[in-house]
C-alpha cells in the first residue's frame, strides 16, 4: 500500500484519512465534514436505514441514523396524532441490549423483588437482565454479552417491541 496521495496532483493524505476513520469508529461518529479554504473532507459511515442495523462485529447494535438527505418519508415513523411506539432509539454511544420479542418489560421476577440489574451492575452473557412477558409466558432475557449496565432504557411494566433497546452497556 502506497502512502502517497491518490494522485500526483491532489493533496489528499490517506494516512490522515485512516486516522479520521479510526476516530469515527472509536467514537461512533457517523459523519465528519471538514472544510478549510478550498479543501473539504466529508466522511459518512453507517447504514442508510436504521431498520437495517444488523448486529455483527464489534459495532453490533450501533444505530447510525441515516446520514443521507435522500431518506424517504418512509423513515418517519410516527407523525403527530398517532401514538405509534417510539422507534428503536439510536444509542449515541455504547452498545445496547435489545428486546428479542414484543411483550411487557419487567425489571424483576416479582413486584416485591429487587431488579435483576441496575446501573452499575456487571453482567455476563448468561446474566438475566429482565423479564419480558408475552402470551402469559415470562421470558427471562439474558444479557448475551459481558459488561456493565450504564442505563436502563425502559420503565417497569412498559410494552416493548422487537428490537427495542432495553439497556445500555459498556462492554468489558
Amino acid at each position: 500500500m502506497s502512502k502517497e496521495p491518490p494522485t500526483a496532483g491532489t493533496p489528499f493524505n490517506l494516512d490522515k484519512l485512516k486516522e479520521l476513520i479510526e476516530m469515527m469508529e472509536k467514537n461512533g461518529l457517523t459523519e465528519i465534514d471538514l472544510r478549510s479554504g478550498a479543501e473539504r473532507w466529508q466522511l459518512r459511515r453507517g447504514p442508510q436505514e436504521v431498520t437495517q442495523v444488523v448486529s455483527a462485529g464489534p459495532f453490533a447494535g450501533m444505530h447510525m441514523p441515516p446520514p443521507m438527505p435522500m431518506t424517504p418519508a418512509a423513515v418517519q415513523l410516527a407523525p403527530a396524532g398517532s401514538s405509534v411506539m417510539p422507534a428503536a432509539a439510536p444509542a449515541d454511544d455504547g452498545v445496547v441490549i435489545k428486546s428479542p420479542t414484543v411483550g411487557t418489560f419487567y425489571v424483576a421476577a416479582a413486584p416485591t423483588d429487587p431488579p435483576f440489574v441496575s446501573v452499575g451492575s456487571k453482567v455476563k452473557e448468561d446474566t438475566v437482565v429482565c423479564i419480558i412477558e408475552a402470551m402469559k409466558v415470562f421470558n427471562q432475557i439474558p444479557a448475551e454479552m459481558n459488561g456493565t449496565i450504564t442505563a436502563v432504557l425502559v420503565k417497569n411494566g412498559d410494552p416493548v417491541e422487537f428490537g427495542q433497546p432495553l439497556f445500555k452497556i459498556n462492554l468489558g
Binding site: 415513523l77 407523525p79 408475552a134 402470551m135 410494552p159
Partner: protein, 455 residues
C-alpha cells in the same frame, strides 16, 4: 363492538383494515417487521409494534409475537387480512384460547374446509357439484373404461402422489385412456414410487368463478354475488370482475345458491369465498373455499355497495347482518386489476426499488387501494403487489373504457410494473367479448415482454 383491533398483516390490506376500523370508530393496532419500519400506512394506525425481522417466518408468521402484540396493545380482536396467518386454523384457535376474537371463520370451519377431502364431503352433502371422476384409485383398465363412459371424454388421469404435471395425462378416447393409464402409472411409479392414479373430468378452457358470501353468528348466510377471476398468469389472478361476463343470470343464481348451501353445511361464519370452475357449457364444479377475505374483495364492494371489511368486523363482534338476500344489489360492472412491481420484459421477475414518481389515476368510477406513494421503497421481502386499481361503471363496456383510461393515466417510475400487460389485456377483443378462461394469458401472444409461463 371492539374498541381496538390488531391488524396482523402488512401493506395494502393492512391499510384497508386500518381504514375500516377508523370508519367504524375503532382503534387499530398495527404490527410490522423491521423491513416495514417507517412505512407510511403504519402512521395511520393508533399504535404499531415491531414484531421481528424482515423474513415473514420471523415476524408476520409468528403467532406468539402477534398474540403478544395484541396483548400489550390491548386489542380485543385480530384481523388477519389475506395471506400470512389468515387461513391458519391453529392461529384462530390460539386467538380463541387467549380470548381474542379472530375476525374470520371459526377454527373448526377453517379446519374442515382446509382439508380437501372433508371439504369435498361437505360440498357433496350440500349438493354442490364436484368435478366428476373416480371415487378413488383406479384398480383396472376395465373400471377406468366404465367410469370414462359415465363421465365422458376428455378425461384427466392424475397420479395420487403427483405434482408439477408429472404422472398426468389427458385422454380423449378409450384408446388414449388405455395408453395414458399405463404411462401415467409408470411415470408416477418412477417419480413418486407410487403408481396409484385416479380419473377426473378434464374441464377445457375453464373459467374461474367464485362466490363471495358472509355469515353472521345468528344463522344468516348471504351471498354477495360472484366474481370472475379467469384472467390468470401462472395461477396468479390478474383481473377480477363482477358480475361474471357471459354467464346467464340463472347460472349465476344457481352458483350463488350453491355457495350459500355449502357455507351453511360447514357452519361457516364471517366472510368467505367459494371457488368454482365453469366449463364452456356453463356447468360449474366446486373447487375449494377460501376461508378469509380476498385480494379481489373490492369488486364485490363496488357492485353491492357493502363494505366487506367493516362487515367482517361487525359480524365478528356478534352483530347480525343488517341486510337480507333479496336486498343485495349487483349494480353495474366492477373490475379490478393488480398492479405488481414485476418486470414484464424479464418474465415478470420482481422489480423492487424506490418509486421515484407516482401519478395515480382518479375521477369518477376509479378507486385505488394501495399503501404506496411517491418515494415508497418496494422491498424484496414480500409479494410484489403494490396496489389494486378498481373501476365501477354502469356497464362492462364503460368499465373497460374507464380502466383503459385509468391505466393510461397511471405513471410510475423507479419500479417496473404489470401495467403494460394489463393495457394489452384491456385492448384485446377477446377480453371485450368476455371470451376469457384460465388459459387466456398462456395461449395469447403479448407484445409487452412475455407473459408466457416458460419462456
Amino acid at each position: 363492538m371492539f374498541q381496538r383491533v390488531l391488524v396482523a398483516n402488512r401493506g395494502e390490506i393492512a391499510l384497508r383494515v386500518i381504514r375500516a376500523c377508523k370508519d367504524l370508530g375503532i382503534e387499530s393496532v398495527a404490527v410490522f417487521s423491521e423491513a416495514d419500519r417507517g412505512a407510511h400506512y403504519l402512521s395511520l394506525a393508533d399504535e404499531a409494534f415491531c414484531i421481528g425481522p424482515a423474513p415473514s417466518s420471523e415476524s408476520y408468521l409468528l403467532i406468539n409475537r402477534i398474540i403478544a402484540a395484541a396483548e400489550v396493545g390491548n386489542a380485543q380482536a385480530i384481523h388477519p387480512g389475506y395471506g400470512f396467518l389468515s387461513e391458519n386454523a391453529h392461529f384462530a384457535e390460539v386467538c380463541q384460547s387467549c380470548h381474542i376474537t379472530f375476525i374470520g371463520p371459526s377454527h373448526e370451519a377453517m379446519g374442515k374446509l382446509g382439508d380437501k377431502i372433508s371439504a369435498k364431503a361437505i360440498a357433496q352433502a350440500a349438493e354442490v357439484p364436484l368435478v366428476p371422476g373416480s371415487d378413488g384409485l383406479i384398480d383396472s383398465e376395465a373400471e377406468a373404461l366404465r367410469i370414462a363412459k359415465k363421465i365422458g371424454y376428455p378425461i384427466l388421469i392424475k397420479a395420487t402422489a403427483g405434482g408439477g404435471g408429472k404422472g398426468m395425462r389427458v385422454a380423449i378416447d378409450d384408446s388414449s385412456l388405455k395408453n395414458g393409464l399405463k404411462q401415467a402409472a409408470a411415470e408416477a411409479e418412477k417419480a413418486f414410487k407410487n403408481a396409484g392414479v385416479y380419473l377426473e373430468k378434464y374441464v377445457e378452457r375453464p373459467r374461474h368463478v367464485e362466490v363471495q358470501f358472509i355469515a353472521d353468528h345468528h344463522g344468516n348466510v348471504i351471498h354477495l354475488w360472484e366474481r370472475d377471476c379467469s384472467l390468470q398468469r401462472r395461477h396468479q389472478k390478474l383481473v377480477e370482475e363482477s358480475p361474471a361476463p357471459t354467464l346467464p343470470k340463472s347460472v349465476r343464481e344457481e352458483l350463488c345458491k350453491a355457495a350459500v348451501r355449502l357455507a351453511k353445511a360447514a357452519s361457516y361464519t364471517n366472510a368467505g369465498t367459494c371457488e368454482f370452475i365453469v366449463d364452456k357449457d356453463n356447468n360449474f364444479y366446486f373447487i375449494e373455499v377460501n376461508a378469509r377475505i380476498q385480494v379481489e374483495h373490492p369488486v364485490t364492494e363496488m357492485v353491492t355497495g357493502i363494505d366487506l371489511i367493516q362487515q367482517q368486523i361487525r359480524v365478528a363482534a356478534g352483530e347480525e347482518l343488517p341486510f337480507k338476500q333479496k336486498n343485495i344489489p349487483c349494480e353495474g360492472c366492477a373490475i379490478e386489476v393488480r398492479i405488481n412491481a414485476e418486470d414484464p420484459a424479464h418474465n415478470f421477475r420482481p422489480s423492487p426499488g424506490k418509486i421515484t414518481k407516482l401519478r395515480v389515476p382518479g375521477g369518477p368510477g376509479v378507486r385505488f387501494d394501495s399503501h404506496v406513494h411517491q418515494d415508497y421503497v418496494v422491498g424484496p421481502n414480500y409479494d410484489s403487489m403494490i396496489g389494486k386499481l378498481i373501476v365501477h361503471r354502469p356497464t362492462r363496456d364503460q368499465a373497460i373504457a374507464t380502466m383503459r383510461r385509468a391505466l393510461a393515466e397511471f405513471e410510475i417510475e423507479g419500479v417496473k410494473t404489470t401495467i403494460p400487460l394489463l393495457q394489452e389485456i384491456f385492448a384485446h377483443p377477446a377480453f371485450h367479448s368476455g371470451d376469457v378462461d384460465t388459459t387466456f394469458i398462456e395461449r395469447t401472444t403479448w407484445a409487452s415482454g412475455t407473459a408466457k409461463p416458460h419462456s
